[in-house]
Amino acid sequence: MRLLKLIPDSTNIDFMRWRKLGLAISVLLMVGSLVVVGVRGLNFGVDFLGGQMIRVTFTQQIDVEQLRADVGRLELGEASIQESGGPSSYQIRLPKAEGGEAAANQAASQVRSLLEQRYPGARIDAVETVSGKVSEELAQDGALSIALAMIGIAVYIWFRFEWHFGVGALATLLHDVSMTLGFFALTQLQVDLNVVAAFLTIVGYSLNDTVVVYDRIRENLRMYRKMAIVPLINLSVNETLSRTLVTSLSILLALGVLLVIGPEVIFGLTIAIFLGIFVGTYSSIYISAPTLVLLGLKPDSFLNYEESDRAGQNA
């Protein structure tokens, strides 16, 4: 049986030759992403804005404009209506009710009875009500948890490797997270709690490739003490290229299946992780590695660590 080889056995691609170009493009894309986020903003769901979300499935195709007008007549503030998943599933979002809890309850039952009257057989799949206080906390916690995860991982890498690697990891994470944010700003896909979970997952998994490359760089730094840093990084990236591609492809394959035939409700979560893995694969080559060169990693950077590391390996 002939085995599938994604790439030839021994590649010798001069990745680092384009490192400046790669870095420049990445920085441009990052800045672009942040600009898009700034200009278009993110489409936050009720989790972070507060208010109400009602997910409803109708028995047949309905006229969205009609529905919009019907909901508008209830005068509950500016409602937004989006398709969600299936062809006749919609998500009705209402802003925070003025007058607190009682008003919010009333708004929900008003919409409920409207749907029951005007669209007999409509199925209310989910109702979410989030008060302003809770949504503020959720937003804070979400941002805090992503920041903590990024810093935690960077610090871990710093301890396990060298400070250059920690900074490189942080740069990689910033890149991946801002690109994914840019994607959400561009597509205006809803950002809810699930998406925060997706970001944390990206933070964990996008560094997967980076860590493997770093691990090989460290190994090669010990093995080839005389080699200049740029060819050494090239060698390390080439050596791990096959693994990087196979693993990333395997994850993308699994997630791709989930995207196409999985439950619609977690589409946002899945697409975010899918994209993050994709971007993470690229950035492990063009962000993580070149930053080491930029930060002036020297072939002898690990020499003074030899002792303690050998002890660690034997353990």
Binding site: E101, T129, S145, A197, T201, V246, V265, I273
Partner: protein, 532 residues
């Protein structure tokens, strides 16, 4: 590296068999599960609310209301102590404004005695600090001011939340048969999860009612004009009517309260057939109610629920049996709700719903079906990819992958973890990522072979050298997933749990199980070359 002593083979096999055994109940369809032998483990993975359908409410104590209630209780305690216990101290001008309780002592000579008795009323917070729950001071030489200390407030809130959790549980589930979750979160929040509730509105109105019931005499001496402006004679207070039609002055002191109830049921009025709540007082309550009604025949008394007057019937004759009924324009449903609320006791603090998430049962079912199909399809896709890429080693990877999936399910079942909708995504992601450790190893073996190492040597070096990368690469995932678990709630936690379990099991299967398969094969077949 490839040396596998027999005990190791057995223990790895045992762990895996156990995992599979625990995974089986969760995968059986309901009809087969009934016939599943009872001596085998039967714990299954529970479904999160987003898959099973149900409601989740986050309640927050209204601390302003709590302090109001505490002041009212304190006022009752203080008047009881000074006006009725010997030696009596005459006090007046009781005020609870500004979050403090204050009163005048009529006889200046008794101020010190009053302060002394107030001090004995206050309770120490704990044995060590010597702090008390109320602070007693004298202002303007004759006014005694009681302020609750911070420690006292905190303790009162803690106690109130403990009681509130019990009350909430009793109200939602009077029979104690449902699988509901009522847990405290932080200092002043309660998380309630009720699977399969169709109507969250009813649930909320059950919890939303403090259900503080009081029976008070109507103050007939009050001037109606003054009452409508909110002013009442001393010893009385003005309360609104529940139907919003006006105000009424009632005595501050209650004849009886809901605390003296032993039972409350929904019933129908015997005269007009209207739904009412029929209540029964305990012995002490019945005695008091009997005495007061005897003394006040032909006068009206007010039935007050949560500071609103439901009705103010006339006392036609003394009510001696300890039975009474509450009318107030109820429907059968609202009467029933009030009966449940009264029977479960009043909430020591008003609870506001600050977050609600309800998922209908159909959406969950649909999601499970799609999730299961997608998980299976994703697994098959990854298997094909692995076998095509690594041949025989791909088959080993695949066996490891399936074992890994079963282990995840088994561990989740053992810990009775909830599978949530994001958890499905976590499962699929883990399936894709679980091969990573194997990929690292396989690629390394390929590499070592290219470097000219012999088969055994290449395998050994491959497994050894890949380990640090496997370890470091997985730690980053653990950090992210742990933070997610810490900050997340409900569905997100379910996702983090699947990720964490998946990371552990995938490393275990790659480093132990597939390696064992490989070594057993190498030992048996003694291959001349590795096709990898």
């Amino acid at each position: 590296m490839l040396d596998f002593p027999r005990w190791k083979v057995w223990s790895i096999t045992l762990v895996i068999l156990l995992g599979i055994l625990f995974a089986i109940p969760s995968m059986l369809p309901a009809n087969l599960k009934a016939r599943y032998p009872s001596f085998l483990p039967s714990a299954t993975i529970s479904l999160g609310l987003d898959l099973a359908g149900g409601s989740q409410l986050l309640l927050e104590a209204d601390t302003a209301d709590a302090s109001k209630q505490r002041l009212a209780a304190k006022e009752e305690e203080v008047t009881q102590e000074l006006r009725r216990n010997e030696p009596r101290i005459e006090i007046g001008d009781i005020s609870t404004s500004g979050g403090r309780l204050s009163f005048m002592v009529r006889n200046p000579a008794q101020v010190d005695a009053a302060v002394e008795r107030m001090r004995t009323l206050s309770q120490p917070i704990d044995g060590l600090s010597g702090q008390r729950d109320w602070d007693v001071q004298v202002v303007d030489s004759s006014r005694v001011v009681l302020t609750q200390t911070d420690a006292g407030t905190a303790k009162a809130l803690r106690d109130a939340m403990t009681v509130a959790r019990d009350v909430v549980r009793r109200r939602i589930d009077p029979q104690g048969t449902k699988e509901i979750t009522v847990i405290g979160q932080g200092q002043r929040r309660i998380l309630v999860q009720v699977p399969g509730v169709e109507d969250p509105e009813a649930l909320k109105s059950l919890i939303g009612q403090t259900a503080r019931l009081e029976f008070k005499l109507v103050d007939l001496t009050a001037d109606p004009g003054q009452v409508q402006q909110g002013r009442a004679p001393p010893g009385s207070q003005v309360l609104p009517l529940a139907d919003g039609t006006g105000f009424m002055a009632v005595n501050r002191r209650a004849m009886v309260t809901g605390e003296q109830l032993i039972d409350a049921k929904q019933a129908f009025d015997q005269q007009n057939g209207e739904p009412v709540v029929s209540i029964r007082f305990n012995a002490a309550g019945a005695r008091r109610f009997g005495r007061v009604t005897q003394e006040n025949v032909q006068k009206p008394f007010a039935i007050i629920l949560d500071e609103k007057i439901l009705s103010a019937p006339n006392i036609n004759e003394p009510i001696l049996g300890g039975q009474a009924q509450i009318s107030g324009g109820f429907t059968v449903e609202t009467a029933n709700q009030l009966a449940i609320s009264l029977a479960s006791g009043k909430l020591p603090v008003k609870l506001n719903v600050i977050e609600e998430r309800t998922v209908g049962p159909d959406l969950g079912k649909d999601s499970i079906n799609k999730g299961v199909i997608a998980s299976i399809a994703a697994t098959i896709a990854v298997i094909l990819f692995m076998v095509a890429t690594y041949g025989r080693f791909g088959v080993y990877t695949t066996i490891g992958l399936i074992v890994n999936a079963l282990l995840i399910l088994g561990i989740m079942a053992v810990f009775n973890a909830s599978l949530t909708l994001p958890g499905i995504a976590g499962f699929v992601l883990t399936i894709g990522a679980a091969v990573d450790a194997n990929v690292l190893i396989n690629e390394r073996i390929r590499e070592e072979q290219r470097r000219g190492r012999k088969i055994i040597d290449a395998l050994e070096t491959g497994y050894r050298e890949a380990q640090t990368a496997i370890f470091d690469a997985n730690i980053t995932n653990v950090i992210a997933a742990a933070i997610m678990w810490y900050f997340g709630s409900g569905p997100i936690r379910g996702f983090a749990v699947v990720l964490l379990i998946g990371i552990v099991t995938s490393v275990f299967t790659a480093v132990n199980f597939t390696r064992m398969l490989v070594s057993l094969w190498v030992r048996k077949a003694r291959p001349r070359e590795l096709q990898l």
